[in-house]
Amino acid sequence: MKILVTVKRVIDYNVQIRVKSDGSGVETENVKMSMNPPDENAVEEALRIKETGKADEVIVISVGGEKSQETIRTALAMGADRGILIKADSNLEPLAVAKVLQKIIEKENPKMVLLGKQAIDDDCNQTGQMLSALLGWEQGAFVSKIEVDGNSVSITREIDEGLEMLKLSLPVIVTCDLRLNEPRYASLPNIMKAKKKPIDLLNVEDLGVDTSPRIKQIKVEEPPKREKGIMVKDVAELVQKLKHEAKVI
Protein backbone atom coordinates (compact mmCIF):
# COMPACT_ATOMS: atom_id res chain seq x y z
CA MET A 1 0.00 0.00 0.00
CA LYS A 2 1.10 3.52 -0.82
CA ILE A 3 0.61 6.32 1.69
CA LEU A 4 0.46 9.93 0.61
CA VAL A 5 1.30 12.63 3.17
CA THR A 6 0.72 16.35 2.72
CA VAL A 7 3.17 18.88 4.13
CA LYS A 8 2.67 22.63 4.16
CA ARG A 9 5.42 25.20 4.60
CA VAL A 10 4.35 27.73 7.20
CA ILE A 11 5.88 30.34 9.50
CA ASP A 12 7.54 28.46 12.35
CA TYR A 13 5.26 28.11 15.37
CA ASN A 14 7.79 29.86 17.62
CA VAL A 15 7.91 33.04 15.56
CA GLN A 16 6.09 36.09 16.88
CA ILE A 17 3.88 37.10 13.96
CA ARG A 18 4.15 40.67 12.62
CA VAL A 19 1.24 42.14 10.74
CA LYS A 20 2.25 44.41 7.85
CA SER A 21 1.37 48.02 8.43
CA ASP A 22 -0.41 48.34 5.07
CA GLY A 23 -2.92 45.66 6.11
CA SER A 24 -1.99 43.38 3.21
CA GLY A 25 -0.95 40.43 5.33
CA VAL A 26 1.70 39.08 7.62
CA GLU A 27 5.46 39.63 7.32
CA THR A 28 7.09 36.55 5.76
CA GLU A 29 10.41 38.05 4.59
CA ASN A 30 13.37 36.76 6.60
CA VAL A 31 11.07 34.80 8.86
CA LYS A 32 11.86 31.24 9.89
CA MET A 33 9.67 28.76 8.02
CA SER A 34 9.01 25.14 8.99
CA MET A 35 6.79 22.20 8.29
CA ASN A 36 3.27 22.74 9.63
CA PRO A 37 3.45 20.94 13.03
CA PRO A 38 0.66 18.34 12.65
CA ASP A 39 2.03 17.49 9.20
CA GLU A 40 5.15 16.23 10.98
CA ASN A 41 2.89 13.87 12.92
CA ALA A 42 1.37 12.76 9.62
CA VAL A 43 4.81 11.98 8.18
CA GLU A 44 5.81 10.16 11.36
CA GLU A 45 2.67 8.03 11.35
CA ALA A 46 3.11 7.08 7.71
CA LEU A 47 6.67 5.98 8.44
CA ARG A 48 5.55 3.91 11.42
CA ILE A 49 2.89 2.18 9.35
CA LYS A 50 5.51 1.45 6.71
CA GLU A 51 7.89 0.12 9.36
CA THR A 52 5.30 -2.44 10.47
CA GLY A 53 5.24 -3.70 6.90
CA LYS A 54 1.69 -2.49 6.22
CA ALA A 55 2.81 0.07 3.64
CA ASP A 56 5.58 -0.02 1.10
CA GLU A 57 5.90 3.57 -0.03
CA VAL A 58 5.50 6.97 1.60
CA ILE A 59 5.09 9.90 -0.78
CA VAL A 60 5.10 13.49 0.49
CA ILE A 61 3.39 16.25 -1.38
CA SER A 62 3.36 19.98 -0.96
CA VAL A 63 1.51 22.70 -2.83
CA GLY A 64 3.31 26.02 -2.81
CA GLY A 65 6.34 28.00 -3.88
CA GLU A 66 9.75 26.67 -4.92
CA LYS A 67 10.93 26.81 -1.30
CA SER A 68 8.37 24.21 -0.26
CA GLN A 69 10.94 21.75 -1.60
CA GLU A 70 12.81 22.32 1.66
CA THR A 71 9.78 21.12 3.59
CA ILE A 72 9.52 18.07 1.37
CA ARG A 73 13.25 17.46 1.92
CA THR A 74 12.67 17.51 5.67
CA ALA A 75 10.08 14.77 5.30
CA LEU A 76 12.42 12.78 3.06
CA ALA A 77 15.12 13.10 5.71
CA MET A 78 12.70 11.70 8.27
CA GLY A 79 12.38 8.67 5.98
CA ALA A 80 9.75 9.30 3.31
CA ASP A 81 10.57 7.77 -0.07
CA ARG A 82 9.87 10.51 -2.59
CA GLY A 83 8.30 13.90 -2.99
CA ILE A 84 5.99 15.84 -5.25
CA LEU A 85 5.92 19.62 -5.36
CA ILE A 86 3.00 21.29 -7.06
CA LYS A 87 4.24 24.75 -7.84
CA ALA A 88 1.64 27.40 -7.17
CA ASP A 89 2.55 30.97 -6.36
CA SER A 90 -0.28 32.23 -4.24
CA ASN A 91 -1.60 30.82 -1.03
CA LEU A 92 -4.26 28.53 -2.41
CA GLU A 93 -7.51 28.08 -0.51
CA PRO A 94 -8.17 24.67 1.05
CA LEU A 95 -10.77 23.89 -1.65
CA ALA A 96 -8.16 24.47 -4.36
CA VAL A 97 -5.54 22.44 -2.49
CA ALA A 98 -8.05 19.61 -2.10
CA LYS A 99 -8.76 19.65 -5.85
CA VAL A 100 -5.04 19.58 -6.64
CA LEU A 101 -4.53 16.68 -4.23
CA GLN A 102 -7.46 14.83 -5.78
CA LYS A 103 -5.72 14.97 -9.19
CA ILE A 104 -2.49 13.59 -7.80
CA ILE A 105 -4.31 10.89 -5.86
CA GLU A 106 -6.12 9.74 -9.00
CA LYS A 107 -2.71 9.27 -10.60
CA GLU A 108 -0.80 7.78 -7.68
CA ASN A 109 -3.56 5.59 -6.22
CA PRO A 110 -2.55 5.63 -2.56
CA LYS A 111 -4.74 3.71 -0.13
CA MET A 112 -4.29 6.22 2.64
CA VAL A 113 -3.77 9.98 2.69
CA LEU A 114 -2.53 11.60 5.89
CA LEU A 115 -2.88 15.35 6.39
CA GLY A 116 -2.44 17.67 9.34
CA LYS A 117 -5.69 18.60 11.04
CA GLN A 118 -5.02 22.30 10.68
CA ALA A 119 -2.50 24.61 9.07
CA ILE A 120 -1.22 26.99 11.74
CA ASP A 121 -1.13 29.93 9.34
CA ASP A 122 -4.67 30.05 7.94
CA ASP A 123 -6.14 27.98 10.81
CA CYS A 124 -8.79 26.72 8.36
CA ASN A 125 -9.11 23.08 9.37
CA GLN A 126 -10.76 22.12 6.08
CA THR A 127 -8.47 20.49 3.53
CA GLY A 128 -8.70 16.84 4.61
CA GLN A 129 -12.46 16.87 5.02
CA MET A 130 -12.86 18.55 1.62
CA LEU A 131 -10.59 16.02 -0.02
CA SER A 132 -12.55 13.19 1.54
CA ALA A 133 -15.80 14.58 0.17
CA LEU A 134 -14.32 15.10 -3.31
CA LEU A 135 -12.96 11.55 -3.46
CA GLY A 136 -15.90 9.90 -1.71
CA TRP A 137 -13.47 8.24 0.70
CA GLU A 138 -14.10 7.72 4.40
CA GLN A 139 -12.63 10.28 6.76
CA GLY A 140 -11.09 10.30 10.17
CA ALA A 141 -10.60 13.87 11.33
CA PHE A 142 -8.49 15.09 14.30
CA VAL A 143 -7.03 11.65 14.88
CA SER A 144 -4.80 10.73 17.82
CA LYS A 145 -4.60 6.96 17.19
CA ILE A 146 -4.57 4.79 14.07
CA GLU A 147 -4.57 1.02 13.78
CA VAL A 148 -4.45 -0.58 10.37
CA ASP A 149 -5.75 -4.13 10.13
CA GLY A 150 -6.03 -5.44 6.59
CA ASN A 151 -8.60 -3.28 4.86
CA SER A 152 -9.95 -1.68 7.96
CA VAL A 153 -8.57 1.22 9.90
CA SER A 154 -9.58 1.86 13.51
CA ILE A 155 -9.11 5.43 14.59
CA THR A 156 -9.55 7.51 17.72
CA ARG A 157 -10.61 11.12 17.13
CA GLU A 158 -10.26 14.04 19.49
CA ILE A 159 -13.61 15.77 19.86
CA ASP A 160 -14.84 18.56 22.13
CA GLU A 161 -16.51 16.05 24.44
CA GLY A 162 -13.51 13.69 24.67
CA LEU A 163 -12.69 10.86 22.29
CA GLU A 164 -14.57 9.08 19.52
CA MET A 165 -13.69 5.74 18.01
CA LEU A 166 -14.59 4.83 14.41
CA LYS A 167 -13.84 1.94 12.11
CA LEU A 168 -13.14 2.97 8.54
CA SER A 169 -12.36 1.03 5.37
CA LEU A 170 -9.54 1.72 2.96
CA PRO A 171 -9.01 3.94 1.09
CA VAL A 172 -9.14 6.58 3.81
CA ILE A 173 -8.34 10.20 4.55
CA VAL A 174 -6.96 10.88 8.01
CA THR A 175 -6.22 14.30 9.49
CA CYS A 176 -3.68 14.12 12.28
CA ASP A 177 -3.64 15.71 15.73
CA LEU A 178 -0.39 16.60 17.48
CA ARG A 179 -1.04 13.83 20.03
CA LEU A 180 -0.91 11.11 17.37
CA ASN A 181 2.79 10.45 17.96
CA GLU A 182 6.16 12.02 18.71
CA PRO A 183 7.81 12.91 15.36
CA ARG A 184 11.39 11.68 14.97
CA TYR A 185 14.38 13.87 14.25
CA ALA A 186 16.19 13.26 11.00
CA SER A 187 19.62 11.74 11.58
CA LEU A 188 22.63 13.15 9.74
CA PRO A 189 23.03 10.09 7.47
CA ASN A 190 19.34 10.30 6.61
CA ILE A 191 19.63 14.00 5.80
CA MET A 192 22.45 13.09 3.40
CA LYS A 193 20.40 10.25 1.88
CA ALA A 194 17.40 12.55 1.47
CA LYS A 195 19.37 14.75 -0.89
CA LYS A 196 19.34 11.94 -3.44
CA LYS A 197 15.68 11.10 -3.12
CA PRO A 198 13.55 12.25 -6.06
CA ILE A 199 11.16 15.21 -5.98
CA ASP A 200 8.79 15.57 -8.94
CA LEU A 201 7.96 19.12 -9.89
CA LEU A 202 4.60 19.96 -11.42
CA ASN A 203 2.94 23.25 -12.22
CA VAL A 204 -0.52 23.77 -10.86
CA GLU A 205 -1.61 25.18 -14.25
CA ASP A 206 -0.86 21.84 -15.90
CA LEU A 207 -3.27 19.89 -13.71
CA GLY A 208 -6.42 21.33 -15.25
CA VAL A 209 -8.12 22.20 -12.00
CA ASP A 210 -9.86 25.45 -11.18
CA THR A 211 -7.88 26.99 -8.36
CA SER A 212 -9.15 30.55 -8.72
CA PRO A 213 -9.69 32.27 -5.39
CA ARG A 214 -13.22 32.45 -4.04
CA ILE A 215 -12.36 34.46 -0.97
CA LYS A 216 -10.97 37.97 -1.23
CA GLN A 217 -8.74 39.18 1.52
CA ILE A 218 -9.85 42.72 2.35
CA LYS A 219 -7.38 43.44 5.12
CA VAL A 220 -5.29 41.88 7.85
CA GLU A 221 -5.00 43.70 11.16
CA GLU A 222 -3.38 43.26 14.48
CA PRO A 223 -5.81 42.17 17.18
CA PRO A 224 -6.48 44.71 19.94
CA LYS A 225 -3.65 44.62 22.48
CA ARG A 226 -4.36 43.75 26.08
CA GLU A 227 -3.11 46.21 28.64
CA LYS A 228 -0.62 44.66 30.99
CA GLY A 229 -2.15 44.49 34.45
CA ILE A 230 -0.64 44.62 37.92
CA MET A 231 1.28 42.20 40.11
CA VAL A 232 -0.29 41.46 43.48
CA LYS A 233 1.82 40.64 46.51
CA ASP A 234 -0.11 37.66 47.86
CA VAL A 235 -3.19 35.50 47.56
CA ALA A 236 -5.18 37.61 50.02
CA GLU A 237 -4.68 40.71 47.90
CA LEU A 238 -5.57 38.77 44.77
CA VAL A 239 -8.87 37.62 46.23
CA GLN A 240 -9.69 41.13 47.48
CA LYS A 241 -8.99 42.60 44.02
CA LEU A 242 -11.12 39.97 42.29
CA LYS A 243 -13.95 40.58 44.73
CA HIS A 244 -13.94 44.37 45.07
CA GLU A 245 -12.11 45.76 42.03
CA ALA A 246 -12.82 43.35 39.16
CA LYS A 247 -16.02 42.13 40.83
CA VAL A 248 -15.80 38.73 39.15
CA ILE A 249 -16.11 36.50 42.21
Binding site: Y13, I17, V19, V26, P38, P94, L95, I120, D122, D123, C124, N125, Q126, Q129, M130, L131, S132, A133, E138, Q139, A141, F142, S154, E158, D160, E161, G162, L163, E164, M165, L166, K167, S169, D177, L178, R179, R214, I215, K216, Q217, I218, V220, E221, E222, P223, R226, K228, G229, I230, M231, V232, D234, V235, L238, V239, K241, K243, A246, V248, I249
Partner: protein, 314 residues
Protein backbone atom coordinates in the same frame (compact mmCIF):
# COMPACT_ATOMS: atom_id res chain seq x y z
CA UNK B 1 -33.27 33.74 0.91
CA UNK B 2 -33.26 31.98 4.28
CA UNK B 3 -30.25 30.94 6.30
CA UNK B 4 -29.73 27.36 7.41
CA UNK B 5 -28.13 26.75 10.80
CA UNK B 6 -26.90 23.24 11.56
CA UNK B 7 -28.14 22.07 14.96
CA UNK B 8 -25.51 20.39 17.10
CA UNK B 9 -27.05 18.18 19.75
CA UNK B 10 -26.91 14.82 21.51
CA UNK B 11 -30.52 13.88 20.67
CA UNK B 12 -31.66 15.26 24.02
CA UNK B 13 -30.26 18.77 24.20
CA UNK B 14 -29.29 21.32 21.62
CA UNK B 15 -25.69 22.38 22.29
CA UNK B 16 -25.35 26.01 23.26
CA UNK B 17 -22.92 26.56 20.37
CA UNK B 18 -25.92 26.33 18.05
CA UNK B 19 -27.59 29.20 19.93
CA UNK B 20 -24.49 31.34 19.31
CA UNK B 21 -24.64 30.38 15.63
CA UNK B 22 -28.29 31.47 15.46
CA UNK B 23 -27.33 34.90 16.82
CA UNK B 24 -24.53 35.13 14.25
CA UNK B 25 -26.93 34.20 11.45
CA UNK B 26 -29.39 36.84 12.63
CA UNK B 27 -26.80 39.53 11.89
CA UNK B 28 -27.30 38.69 8.21
CA UNK B 29 -31.01 38.03 8.05
CA UNK B 30 -33.88 37.08 10.32
CA UNK B 31 -35.24 34.22 8.27
CA UNK B 32 -33.45 31.41 10.06
CA UNK B 33 -34.08 27.69 9.74
CA UNK B 34 -32.40 25.12 11.95
CA UNK B 35 -31.86 21.56 10.74
CA UNK B 36 -31.83 18.83 13.35
CA UNK B 37 -30.50 15.47 12.18
CA UNK B 38 -30.57 12.75 14.81
CA UNK B 39 -32.44 9.83 16.30
CA UNK B 40 -35.44 10.01 18.65
CA UNK B 41 -34.97 13.70 18.99
CA UNK B 42 -38.40 15.10 18.15
CA UNK B 43 -38.90 16.37 21.67
CA UNK B 44 -35.70 18.35 21.45
CA UNK B 45 -36.62 19.65 17.99
CA UNK B 46 -39.89 20.96 19.45
CA UNK B 47 -37.89 22.87 22.01
CA UNK B 48 -35.56 24.25 19.33
CA UNK B 49 -38.70 25.63 17.69
CA UNK B 50 -39.20 28.07 20.58
CA UNK B 51 -35.73 29.59 20.12
CA UNK B 52 -35.87 33.29 19.41
CA UNK B 53 -35.50 34.20 15.72
CA UNK B 54 -35.96 30.65 14.42
CA UNK B 55 -38.69 30.44 11.76
CA UNK B 56 -38.54 26.78 10.88
CA UNK B 57 -37.02 23.58 12.24
CA UNK B 58 -36.25 20.81 9.76
CA UNK B 59 -36.21 17.44 11.48
CA UNK B 60 -34.68 14.27 10.10
CA UNK B 61 -34.79 11.22 12.36
CA UNK B 62 -33.31 7.81 11.75
CA UNK B 63 -31.28 5.34 13.77
CA UNK B 64 -28.36 5.90 11.39
CA UNK B 65 -28.14 9.47 12.69
CA UNK B 66 -27.81 8.45 16.33
CA UNK B 67 -24.21 9.68 16.20
CA UNK B 68 -23.02 12.58 14.08
CA UNK B 69 -20.99 10.75 11.43
CA UNK B 70 -19.72 13.30 8.93
CA UNK B 71 -20.24 11.04 5.90
CA UNK B 72 -23.90 10.54 6.85
CA UNK B 73 -24.83 14.06 7.86
CA UNK B 74 -23.09 16.15 5.23
CA UNK B 75 -25.05 14.77 2.23
CA UNK B 76 -28.30 15.68 3.97
CA UNK B 77 -27.14 19.26 4.42
CA UNK B 78 -25.87 19.37 0.86
CA UNK B 79 -29.29 18.28 -0.39
CA UNK B 80 -30.97 21.16 1.44
CA UNK B 81 -28.51 23.80 0.26
CA UNK B 82 -30.37 25.08 -2.80
CA UNK B 83 -32.94 26.93 -0.70
CA UNK B 84 -30.40 28.86 1.37
CA UNK B 85 -28.06 31.80 0.91
CA UNK B 86 -25.90 30.84 3.89
CA UNK B 87 -25.22 27.61 5.73
CA UNK B 88 -23.93 28.23 9.22
CA UNK B 89 -22.55 25.88 11.82
CA UNK B 90 -20.61 26.26 15.04
CA UNK B 91 -16.83 25.94 14.70
CA UNK B 92 -16.84 23.07 17.19
CA UNK B 93 -15.31 19.69 16.36
CA UNK B 94 -18.83 18.78 15.15
CA UNK B 95 -18.94 21.63 12.64
CA UNK B 96 -15.28 21.37 11.68
CA UNK B 97 -15.79 17.71 10.82
CA UNK B 98 -18.87 18.19 8.67
CA UNK B 99 -18.92 21.61 7.04
CA UNK B 100 -15.86 21.37 4.77
CA UNK B 101 -17.48 18.27 3.24
CA UNK B 102 -20.63 20.24 2.55
CA UNK B 103 -18.61 23.08 1.05
CA UNK B 104 -16.52 20.84 -1.22
CA UNK B 105 -19.58 18.89 -2.38
CA UNK B 106 -21.15 22.17 -3.47
CA UNK B 107 -17.88 23.49 -4.95
CA UNK B 108 -17.80 26.33 -2.45
CA UNK B 109 -15.02 27.71 -0.30
CA UNK B 110 -15.62 27.79 3.43
CA UNK B 111 -14.97 30.68 5.81
CA UNK B 112 -13.90 29.08 9.10
CA UNK B 113 -14.17 30.33 12.66
CA UNK B 114 -15.90 33.65 12.04
CA UNK B 115 -15.73 36.08 14.98
CA UNK B 116 -17.54 39.00 13.37
CA UNK B 117 -20.00 39.42 10.54
CA UNK B 118 -19.58 42.68 8.65
CA UNK B 119 -22.35 41.97 6.16
CA UNK B 120 -23.80 39.08 4.15
CA UNK B 121 -20.51 38.30 2.40
CA UNK B 122 -17.78 39.86 4.55
CA UNK B 123 -16.47 38.25 7.70
CA UNK B 124 -13.66 38.66 10.23
CA UNK B 125 -11.71 35.61 11.32
CA UNK B 126 -8.54 35.06 13.35
CA UNK B 127 -5.48 33.61 11.61
CA UNK B 128 -2.04 32.67 12.97
CA UNK B 129 -3.47 31.58 16.33
CA UNK B 130 -5.30 34.89 16.69
CA UNK B 131 -2.17 36.98 16.19
CA UNK B 132 -3.82 38.57 13.18
CA UNK B 133 -7.42 39.23 12.22
CA UNK B 134 -8.35 38.82 8.58
CA UNK B 135 -11.36 40.50 7.01
CA UNK B 136 -12.42 38.37 4.07
CA UNK B 137 -15.10 38.60 1.44
CA UNK B 138 -16.61 35.48 -0.04
CA UNK B 139 -17.36 35.74 -3.77
CA UNK B 140 -19.18 32.40 -3.90
CA UNK B 141 -22.91 32.61 -4.58
CA UNK B 142 -23.62 30.68 -1.40
CA UNK B 143 -21.68 31.07 1.84
CA UNK B 144 -20.53 28.23 4.02
CA UNK B 145 -19.38 29.57 7.37
CA UNK B 146 -18.49 28.23 10.78
CA UNK B 147 -18.92 30.49 13.80
CA UNK B 148 -16.67 30.80 16.81
CA UNK B 149 -19.32 30.34 19.52
CA UNK B 150 -17.68 32.58 22.11
CA UNK B 151 -17.86 35.58 19.78
CA UNK B 152 -21.67 35.72 19.69
CA UNK B 153 -24.21 35.74 22.51
CA UNK B 154 -26.51 32.73 22.67
CA UNK B 155 -29.99 33.25 21.20
CA UNK B 156 -32.79 33.20 23.78
CA UNK B 157 -34.41 29.79 24.10
CA UNK B 158 -37.83 31.41 24.25
CA UNK B 159 -39.76 33.77 22.04
CA UNK B 160 -39.72 31.78 18.81
CA UNK B 161 -42.68 30.01 17.26
CA UNK B 162 -41.13 27.98 14.52
CA UNK B 163 -42.88 25.20 12.67
CA UNK B 164 -41.28 21.76 12.82
CA UNK B 165 -41.15 20.11 9.42
CA UNK B 166 -40.15 16.48 9.12
CA UNK B 167 -37.93 15.78 6.17
CA UNK B 168 -36.63 12.60 4.60
CA UNK B 169 -33.45 11.75 2.81
CA UNK B 170 -32.36 8.76 0.83
CA UNK B 171 -28.89 9.25 -0.36
CA UNK B 172 -25.74 7.20 -0.34
CA UNK B 173 -25.13 4.87 2.53
CA UNK B 174 -21.83 5.40 4.26
CA UNK B 175 -20.28 2.33 5.82
CA UNK B 176 -18.35 4.18 8.51
CA UNK B 177 -18.80 2.19 11.69
CA UNK B 178 -19.28 4.00 14.97
CA UNK B 179 -17.44 2.15 17.72
CA UNK B 180 -17.94 4.40 20.71
CA UNK B 181 -17.23 7.56 22.59
CA UNK B 182 -15.38 8.31 25.76
CA UNK B 183 -16.86 11.48 27.15
CA UNK B 184 -15.56 12.74 30.44
CA UNK B 185 -18.43 13.18 32.84
CA UNK B 186 -18.27 16.11 35.15
CA UNK B 187 -20.68 18.02 37.33
CA UNK B 188 -18.77 21.21 36.64
CA UNK B 189 -19.93 23.87 34.19
CA UNK B 190 -19.05 23.31 30.54
CA UNK B 191 -15.62 24.69 29.63
CA UNK B 192 -16.84 26.55 26.54
CA UNK B 193 -19.55 28.51 28.34
CA UNK B 194 -18.45 28.70 31.99
CA UNK B 195 -18.33 32.14 33.64
CA UNK B 196 -15.10 31.23 35.42
CA UNK B 197 -12.36 28.89 34.19
CA UNK B 198 -9.48 27.64 36.32
CA UNK B 199 -6.71 26.11 34.20
CA UNK B 200 -3.60 24.19 35.12
CA UNK B 201 -0.42 23.66 33.13
CA UNK B 202 2.72 21.61 33.22
CA UNK B 203 3.65 23.37 36.46
CA UNK B 204 0.96 21.36 38.24
CA UNK B 205 3.15 18.31 37.66
CA UNK B 206 0.68 15.42 37.99
CA UNK B 207 -2.89 14.25 37.67
CA UNK B 208 -2.90 13.86 41.45
CA UNK B 209 -1.94 17.51 41.96
CA UNK B 210 -4.73 18.59 39.62
CA UNK B 211 -7.06 17.90 42.55
CA UNK B 212 -5.90 21.24 43.93
CA UNK B 213 -7.17 22.89 40.74
CA UNK B 214 -10.52 21.08 41.02
CA UNK B 215 -10.88 22.20 44.61
CA UNK B 216 -10.43 25.88 43.75
CA UNK B 217 -12.64 25.50 40.67
CA UNK B 218 -15.45 23.99 42.71
CA UNK B 219 -15.35 26.82 45.22
CA UNK B 220 -15.82 29.25 42.33
CA UNK B 221 -18.34 27.08 40.48
CA UNK B 222 -15.83 27.16 37.64
CA UNK B 223 -14.94 24.90 34.74
CA UNK B 224 -11.48 23.34 34.65
CA UNK B 225 -9.16 23.84 31.69
CA UNK B 226 -5.57 22.92 30.88
CA UNK B 227 -2.66 23.68 28.63
CA UNK B 228 -1.66 21.24 25.93
CA UNK B 229 1.41 20.30 27.95
CA UNK B 230 -0.83 19.24 30.86
CA UNK B 231 -3.03 17.18 28.54
CA UNK B 232 -0.07 15.61 26.75
CA UNK B 233 1.42 14.63 30.10
CA UNK B 234 -1.85 12.89 30.95
CA UNK B 235 -2.88 15.07 33.89
CA UNK B 236 -6.34 15.58 32.35
CA UNK B 237 -8.28 14.51 29.23
CA UNK B 238 -7.99 16.20 25.82
CA UNK B 239 -11.40 17.84 26.24
CA UNK B 240 -9.84 20.18 28.85
CA UNK B 241 -7.38 21.74 26.43
CA UNK B 242 -7.58 25.47 25.85
CA UNK B 243 -5.81 27.04 22.87
CA UNK B 244 -5.20 27.15 19.14
CA UNK B 245 -5.75 23.43 18.78
CA UNK B 246 -8.12 23.05 21.71
CA UNK B 247 -11.07 25.10 22.87
CA UNK B 248 -11.54 28.83 22.84
CA UNK B 249 -12.93 30.23 26.07
CA UNK B 250 -14.02 33.76 26.92
CA UNK B 251 -15.06 33.63 30.58
CA UNK B 252 -15.46 36.61 32.89
CA UNK B 253 -12.52 35.22 34.85
CA UNK B 254 -9.69 32.98 33.64
CA UNK B 255 -7.15 31.78 36.19
CA UNK B 256 -3.98 30.28 34.68
CA UNK B 257 -1.95 28.26 37.15
CA UNK B 258 1.50 26.94 36.25
CA UNK B 259 0.98 27.88 32.59
CA UNK B 260 3.76 29.75 30.79
CA UNK B 261 1.53 31.50 28.24
CA UNK B 262 2.71 30.20 24.85
CA UNK B 263 0.96 31.94 21.93
CA UNK B 264 -0.90 28.75 21.16
CA UNK B 265 -2.39 28.78 24.65
CA UNK B 266 -3.14 32.51 24.57
CA UNK B 267 -5.07 31.91 21.34
CA UNK B 268 -7.71 30.15 23.38
CA UNK B 269 -8.12 32.51 26.34
CA UNK B 270 -6.77 35.99 25.74
CA UNK B 271 -10.23 37.46 25.11
CA UNK B 272 -11.28 36.55 28.66
CA UNK B 273 -12.60 39.56 30.55
CA UNK B 274 -10.27 39.23 33.55
CA UNK B 275 -7.13 37.11 33.48
CA UNK B 276 -5.25 35.96 36.57
CA UNK B 277 -1.88 34.24 36.34
CA UNK B 278 -0.11 32.37 39.10
CA UNK B 279 3.41 31.40 38.13
CA UNK B 280 6.70 31.15 39.95
CA UNK B 281 8.64 32.63 37.04
CA UNK B 282 8.26 36.39 36.90
CA UNK B 283 9.36 36.36 33.27
CA UNK B 284 6.55 34.00 32.20
CA UNK B 285 4.79 35.51 29.13
CA UNK B 286 1.40 34.82 30.70
CA UNK B 287 1.99 37.87 32.92
CA UNK B 288 1.92 40.08 29.81
CA UNK B 289 -1.77 39.37 29.32
CA UNK B 290 -2.76 39.02 33.00
CA UNK B 291 -4.81 41.70 34.73
CA UNK B 292 -3.62 40.32 38.06
CA UNK B 293 -0.36 38.44 38.29
CA UNK B 294 0.91 36.60 41.32
CA UNK B 295 4.48 35.40 41.32
CA UNK B 296 4.31 32.42 43.65
CA UNK B 297 4.82 28.70 43.96
CA UNK B 298 1.47 27.21 43.05
CA UNK B 299 1.83 24.54 45.73
CA UNK B 300 1.73 27.28 48.33
CA UNK B 301 -0.67 29.61 46.53
CA UNK B 302 -3.42 27.09 45.77
CA UNK B 303 -4.13 26.00 49.37
CA UNK B 304 -4.11 29.68 50.37
CA UNK B 305 -6.47 30.55 47.55
CA UNK B 306 -8.77 27.77 48.63
CA UNK B 307 -8.96 29.03 52.19
CA UNK B 308 -9.30 32.71 51.17
CA UNK B 309 -12.26 31.72 49.00
CA UNK B 310 -13.88 30.06 52.03
CA UNK B 311 -13.57 33.34 53.88
CA UNK B 312 -15.27 35.51 51.28
CA UNK B 313 -18.17 33.14 50.90
CA UNK B 314 -19.14 33.72 54.51
Amino acid sequence: MSILVIGEHNNKELKSSTLNSITAASVINDDIHVVVIGNNCEEMANRVATTDKVKKVLLLEDSKYENPIAEKISPVITSLAKDYSHIVSPATTFGKNIMPRVAASLDLSQVSDVIKIENEDTFVRPVYAGNALATVQSTDDKKIITIRPTSFDPAATEGGQATVEKISFDGDESKVEFIGREESKSERPELGTARIVVSGGRGVQSAENFKMIYEVADKLNAAVGASRAAVDAGYVGNDYQVGQTGKVVVPDLYIAIGISGAIQHLAGMKESKVIVAINKDEEAPIFNVADYGLQADLFEALPQLSSELDKIDK
